[in-house]
């Protein structure tokens, strides 16, 4: 189709917004680790961004969106972006390069979310190797299955902006890696006070801000559907924030980190649903996400699992809830799809399948990759390096008094 300057303007802006989510994750996570690892945590997000940016241009985009091979993976026809041009392709109204770039920032933020499980103990070299393998072998295939013309979309599963591809995959991969990399020394024994809560709040603000690009941009046009996605995104975030705040208040005091964690939970849950549900449904989806992810976090801590910054409980489980919620709340007043509440059981079943597949695939492949990398170059720094902190031991830098 012909290029629409309005749609293109929105996608370019949305891409910039989503790009900011990657350092946003860095600051969100960086504020929650101990002081000696703040720089490391932020640096991991930048490194993830740079690494995936190059991988995506060279072959990642092609694996995900290149010519389909048996529904499983994209071919290398678009490697090096040869043939990805300035004109729209197919029914799109935006430049093919803009679409590619928009997808790139999704791939980068997914790896950034995954850094949760590496917090305060990963060797940079191991992260570089693991990250490259993971984005190629986990993210790219999943993206192809759901968005690139692969088999999962063929089953009728809906995922507006990445509940399965981004959040479930990052969250359950983090869970798998946690089993391999092991706890931080002192986890569960010493208090590990967050170094800089205002920094975490800044990260959360950038995430909330960028998420408008993530979800409303996924309409790939500046139209009414984008507006709907924008509205339900904000609504679910707000509901999640208030719900987590209330739940944690009930248990003590409403921490600011709880408020923003609830917002992120709401944002995660609404992600697959943003183009299919109404604002009122978004309140329910967000509120349930806030309470559910809060409970999952408590469960994780109780189990003594050091998936340090809760990629699993928030992104993984929030993503599961969101994917199912599409199957429940999808409404024909928003888009042409319906869910359980409109009597459409098939949609709900399709969502379950998509969840099971992405949970299973992400978990298994990530577990294997983590074992392999750990057995070869080793995932963790030495005990001394961990004690001194990654800022000094990995980067030769530190956060001052």
């Amino acid at each position: 189709m012909v290029l629409d300057s309005g749609d293109t303007a929105w996608i370019l802006a949305a891409t910039a917004l989503v790009m900011l989510m990657t350092p946003g994750v860095g600051f969100f996570y960086g504020g929650m680790v101990r002081r000696k690892n703040v720089i490391s945590m932020i640096a991991l997000s930048f490194i993830a961004f740079a690494l995936v940016s190059i991988q995506w241009v060279l072959f990642g985009y092609s694996l995900s969106f290149g010519p389909d091979i048996s529904g499983l993976i994209g071919g290398l026809g678009l490697a090096g972006l040869i043939g990805v041009g300035q004109d729209p392709s197919g029914t799109s109204t935006i430049p093919a390069l803009a679409f590619m770039m928009y997808q790139l920032v999704f791939a980068t933020v997914t790896l950034a979310i995954l850094t949760s499980v590496f917090a305060e103990r990963v060797k940079i070299s191991a992260f570089l190797v693991f990250g490259l393998l993971w984005t190629t072998l986990v993210y790219d295939p999943l993206a192809h299955w759901v968005w690139g013309g692969g088999w999962l979309a063929g089953l009728g599963a809906l995922d507006f902006a990445g509940g399965t591809v981004v959040h479930i995959s990052a969250g359950f991969s983090a869970l798998a890696i946690a089993l391999v990399i092991g706890k931080r020394r002192g986890f569960g024994v010493h208090t590990m006070e967050p170094a800089n809560i205002p920094m975490a709040l800044l990260g959360a603000a950038l995430l909330w801000f960028g998420w408008f690009g993530f979800n409303a941009g996924s309409a790939l046009a500046a139209n009414g559907l984008a507006a709907n996605a924008f509205v339900v995104t904000n609504t679910a975030a707000a509901a999640g924030a208030l719900a987590w705040m209330a739940a944690s208040w009930y248990h003590g005091r409403p921490a600011s980190l709880g408020v923003v964690s609830g917002a992120v939970a709401g944002l995660v849950a609404i992600t697959p649903a943003a183009g299919y549900v109404t604002p009122l449904a978004a309140i329910i989806i967000g509120a349930v996400a806030g309470i559910f992810c809060y409970m999952m976090m408590l469960l994780r801590i109780q189990k003594g699992l050091d998936e340090s910054l809760d990629a699993w409980s928030i992104h993984g489980m929030g993503g599961v809830w969101g994917a199912l919620a599409v199957g429940i709340f999808a409404s024909a007043t928003v888009n042409s799809y319906t869910g359980l509440l409109s009597g459409n059981v098939a949609q709900f079943t399709a969502q379950i399948v998509a969840v099971v597949v992405s949970v299973g695939y992400a978990f298994v492949v990530s577990y294997v990759l983590a074992r392999v990398v750990d057995a070869t170059i080793g995932l963790r720094v030495t005990e001394n390096e961990e004690y001194v902190g990654l800022d000094i031991s990995q980067h030769g830098e530190r956060t001052q008094g």
Partner: protein, 109 residues
């Protein structure tokens, strides 16, 4: 009176605080410091390059107490701050000639 100055690992602060509290030593002052131990800190082997990181974060606890309490206080701190690994810290005992309370005109010598 004496002032005990104990330099301990930051992550042991809570344990030491509680141990002292149980023995009745409530009042204390805590200072963030950086320290270099007799082991000259930690040597990192990094890509073939040796790097010395010689100032590590520590916490200093100061407690002023009567002379006859010193022994038990030291034992308490030792027991609660020890990990057995290098860097557990040191305890110093300094003489204090007088202590005064700001709020009232009380004085202890």
């Amino acid at each position: 009176m004496k002032m005990i100055q104990a330099i301990i690992r930051p992550e042991k602060l809570d344990d030491v605080k509680h141990a002292l509290e149980e023995k009745g030593y409530i009042a204390l002052t805590v200072i963030d410091v950086k320290g270099r131990g007799e082991q000259k800190g930690i040597t990192l082997q990094y890509r073939g390059k040796k790097v010395e990181v010689d100032l590590l974060p520590k916490v200093k606890i100061e407690v002023v107490m009567k002379d006859d309490e010193v022994e038990s206080a030291i034992a308490t701190i030792r027991a609660s701050a020890r990990t057995g690994k290098i860097g557990d810290g040191k305890i110093f005992v300094l003489p204090v000639e007088m202590m005064a309370r700001v709020r009232t005109d009380e004085v202890w010598t």
